[in-house]
C-alpha cells in the first residue's frame, strides 16, 4: 500500500501540471513513461480504493434514478387522494403505506427526494459559483479588496444562520414573485457560499506565487485568462470536494426549513415537509415518520462519504487528522 503510494507520487511528480502540457514536454525515458498517469487517472485510482465512497456513489445514482423515473415505476401520483385507504401500513399495494389522506407514501417520498436532491445540487452549484467568484477575486487581487471581501464573508458566517434563512424566506415571498421552491434555492445559495469563498481564496493565494502563473503573466496573458485557464483548473479539486459536502448541508437545511413550515410549501412534497405532515400521526402511523427521515439520513450520509472519498482522491493534502 505504502509502496503503491510512493510510485504514484513519483509518477505524479514527473507528470507536468496539466496547464503546462503544451508548453514543454520533457523527454522521459520510455520505461518511466509507461507508468506515468495523468492527474485525473491518479485521482480516479485513489477514489476507487475508497470502498465506502464507491458504494455511496452507487446508492446515490440509484436513488437519483428512482426519483427521476418514479412516474414510470409507481402507479400512483403524489397528490392522488384515496380517503378509503388512509394511514395504511406498508404492504404490497402501497409499499410504504399511505398517509392521512390516503396518498401513497412511497411515491411521495420519491417525489420529495426529487425536490430535496434538486435543492441540494442547485444550492451547492450556485454557492460554488458565488464563492468561487468572491474567493477568486479576493485571492487574486489581494490588498484592500481581499480585506473587504473577507470581512463580508466573516459577517455572513457570524449571523445566526437559520434566523436569517427564515426571515429571508419571508423577505423573498414578499418582494419576489415565484414558487417557494425557487425561493428556497435562492435563499440557501445566498448563505452557503462562504466556505467556498474561503477555500478558493486560500488556493488562489498560494497559486499566485507559482512559477507557471508568473510565466503566463510574463508572456502577456490577461488577468481573466490567468484566472480561468491557469489557476481555476488547479483549484477545482478543493472546490469539488467542498461542493459535495455542500450538497449534504443543503439537503439537511432544506429539510429543516420545510419541516418548520418555512421552506418548500405543500402540496409539493419534500422530505422535510413530509416529516412535518407526519408529526400528527406519530402513534397511528410511525412509518410516516420513519421513511422520509431514513431517506434524508441515507442521502446525506452517502453524500458525506462521497465527499470524503473525493477529498482523498482530489485533495490529498486536506485530509483532516491524517498525519504521516
Amino acid at each position: 500500500m505504502r509502496d503503491q503510494d510512493q510510485i504514484e507520487r513519483v509518477a505524479a511528480a514527473t507528470q507536468p501540471l496539466p496547464v503546462e502540457t503544451d508548453v514543454s514536454a520533457p523527454e522521459v525515458p520510455a520505461a518511466i513513461h509507461e507508468r506515468v498517469l495523468s492527474t485525473r487517472q491518479l485521482a480516479w485510482r485513489r477514489f476507487k480504493r475508497h470502498k465506502l465512497a464507491i458504494g455511496s456513489l452507487s446508492i446515490l445514482i440509484l436513488l437519483g434514478l428512482l426519483t427521476l423515473f418514479i412516474p414510470l415505476i409507481s402507479q400512483y401520483n403524489f397528490s392522488q387522494l384515496n380517503l378509503f385507504r388512509r394511514l395504511l401500513g406498508p404492504g404490497s399495494a402501497h409499499w410504504l403505506g399511505t398517509d392521512n389522506l390516503g396518498r401513497d407514501e412511497f411515491t411521495r417520498v420519491m417525489y420529495g427526494g426529487r425536490i430535496s436532491l434538486l435543492v441540494g445540487l442547485s444550492v451547492a452549484i450556485s454557492a460554488g459559483v458565488i464563492g468561487g467568484i468572491v474567493g477568486g477575486i479576493a485571492g487574486y487581487y489581494g490588498g484592500w479588496l481581499d480585506n473587504a471581501l473577507m470581512r463580508v464573508t466573516d459577517l455572513f458566517l457570524a449571523i445566526p444562520f437559520l434566523v436569517v434563512l427564515l426571515i429571508g424566506a419571508r423577505f423573498l415571498d414578499k418582494f419576489l414573485p415565484g414558487s417557494s421552491l425557487v425561493h428556497t434555492i435562492l435563499i440557501l445559495s445566498l448563505f452557503f457560499w462562504m466556505p467556498d469563498a474561503r477555500i478558493v481564496r486560500g488556493v488562489f493565494l498560494s497559486l499566485k506565487e507559482k512559477e507557471f502563473v508568473e510565466a503566463a503573466r510574463a508572456s502577456g496573458a490577461k488577468d481573466s485568462r490567468i484566472i480561468f485557464y491557469h489557476m481555476l483548473p488547479n483549484a477545482m479539486g478543493p472546490i469539488i470536494v467542498n461542493a459535495t459536502l455542500g450538497v449534504a448541508a443543503a439537503i439537511l437545511t432544506e429539510s429543516a426549513l420545510s419541516f418548520l413550515g418555512f421552506g418548500v410549501q405543500p402540496p409539493t412534497p419534500t422530505w422535510g415537509n413530509l416529516l412535518n405532515d407526519a408529526r400528527g400521526f406519530i402513534k397511528v402511523a410511525p412509518g410516516l415518520t420513519w421513511f422520509p427521515g431514513l431517506a434524508i439520513l441515507l442521502a446525506v450520509l452517502c453524500v458525506n462519504f462521497l465527499g470524503d472519498g473525493l477529498r482523498d482522491a482530489l485533495d490529498p493534502h486536506q485530509k483532516l487528522g491524517s498525519k504521516e
Partner: protein, 325 residues
C-alpha cells in the same frame, strides 16, 4: 495585551451599530404590521392612518430607526403588536431558558466529545477509532429534528408502554409539568434530557473530530518527544503537555458556538415546545410581529458578536504564538 483587548472592545461598538441598522432595515421591510388591516374591508382608512401615526410608522425610516434605537438602549423594548404584552420580560425569561439548555448541552458534548477525540487520537486506527469515526459521520448526517421525533416516539410512547409507567421517564415537551408551581429540580431535569440529547448529537460529532485532529497534530510534535525524554510519566505527558495544547483550537470554536446559542436552538425548541428564544422567534415569525422580532434579533446578534470577540481574545491569551499587533 490589554491594549489589544481594549481595542477589540472599542471596535465592537461600530459593528454592533451597523448590525442594528441591518437588522432594523431587514425586519421593517419584511414585515408590514398593517398588511392584514389594509386588505380587511372592515377596517377604515382613517383607522389605519391613526394606528400608523400611533406606532410612528408615518415618519421617515431614519427617524423611525433613531427613535427605536434610543428607546431600545434605554431599556424600553416596546410591546407585542398583537397582545400588547411588554417584550422585555418575555425575552429575558426565554433567554434564561435557552442558556440553561444550550449550556448544559455544550458542557455535556464537550465532556463526551473531548474524551472520544483524545482516545481515538491515542489509539489511531484502532477499532474504537474506526467506530467513533463512523458514529460521527452518522451524527453529522442525521437530521436533528428527525432524531428528536424518534426520541419522542421512543420515550413518550413505547418505553412508557413497555415499562407500564404512568408518565414517561423523560418528558417530550415543555419546561415543567403543567400545573406545578415553584422550581422542582428533578421535574426540570426530566424535561431537559431529551432536547439536550438532540442538541448534543451533532456537537459531539463535530467536537470529537476536531479534538482528534488537533490531538494528532500535537502528538507528533517535537516538544512532546522532549517531554517524554525528560522522563515524565506518560499520563502527565498526555494531559499536561498534549491535551492542553490540543484544546486551544477547540476553545475558540466553543466560544463561537456558545455565542450562536441565543439564536440557534430554533428547531429543537420548536419540537420540544421548550419556552426559549427559538420558540419565541418562530411564534413571532408566524404572527409577523415585528415588535417582538426586532429586539429578539438584536439580542441574538449581540451574543454572536460578543462571543466572537471573546473567541479572538481567548485565542490570543491561550496561544502566545499569536501576534496581537
Amino acid at each position: 495585551m490589554y491594549r489589544y483587548i481594549i481595542r477589540r472592545l472599542i471596535f465592537a461598538i461600530p459593528i454592533l451599530l451597523i448590525s442594528s441598522v441591518l437588522v432594523f432595515a431587514v425586519v421593517r421591510s419584511t414585515f408590514d404590521p398593517l398588511g392584514g388591516a389594509a386588505i380587511n374591508p372592515r377596517v377604515s382608512k382613517a383607522d389605519i392612518i391613526r394606528v400608523k401615526h400611533e406606532l410612528g410608522l408615518d415618519k421617515s425610516p431614519v427617524q423611525q430607526y433613531w427613535t427605536w434605537l434610543t428607546k431600545f438602549l434605554r431599556g424600553n423594548w416596546g410591546s407585542s403588536l398583537l397582545s400588547d404584552r411588554p417584550v422585555y420580560p418575555d425575552i429575558q425569561s426565554a433567554l434564561v431558558n435557552t442558556i440553561v439548555l444550550g449550556g448544559i448541552a455544550t458542557a455535556f458534548s464537550l465532556l463526551v466529545g473531548v474524551g472520544i477525540g483524545v482516545y481515538s487520537a491515542l489509539r489511531q486506527y484502532s477499532w474504537f477509532d474506526h467506530f467513533s469515526t463512523s458514529v460521527a459521520f452518522l451524527g453529522l448526517s442525521m437530521p436533528n429534528f428527525w432524531f428528536a421525533l424518534l426520541l419522542q416516539i421512543f420515550f413518550g410512547v413505547y418505553l412508557t408502554k413497555w415499562l407500564h409507567l404512568t408518565s414517561p421517564i423523560f418528558y417530550t415537551a415543555g419546561l415543567s409539568q403543567p400545573g406545578s408551581s415553584g422550581f422542582n429540580l428533578i421535574d426540570r431535569a426530566r424535561h431537559l434530557v431529551l432536547p439536550m440529547l438532540v442538541l448534543s448529537v451533532q456537537i459531539i460529532a463535530v467536537y470529537s473530530r476536531y479534538m482528534r485532529a488537533s490531538m494528532l497534530e500535537v502528538l507528533h510534535s517535537d516538544y512532546l518527544r522532549t517531554a517524554r525524554a525528560k522522563g515524565l510519566k506518560e499520563s502527565r505527558v498526555i494531559v499536561r503537555h498534549a491535551m492542553r495544547n490540543a484544546l486551544i483550537p477547540l476553545t475558540t470554536q466553543v466560544a463561537i458556538d456558545v455565542g450562536a446559542i441565543a439564536g440557534g436552538l430554533i428547531i429543537t425548541e420548536a419540537i420540544f415546545e421548550y419556552p426559549g428564544m427559538g420558540r419565541y422567534f418562530v411564534d413571532a415569525l408566524f404572527r409577523g410581529d415585528y415588535q417582538q422580532i426586532l429586539p429578539w434579533m438584536m439580542v441574538a446578534v449581540f451574543f454572536v458578536i460578543i462571543f466572537n470577540l471573546a473567541a479572538d481574545i481567548l485565542y490570543a491569551v491561550l496561544d502566545p504564538r499569536i501576534r496581537y499587533a
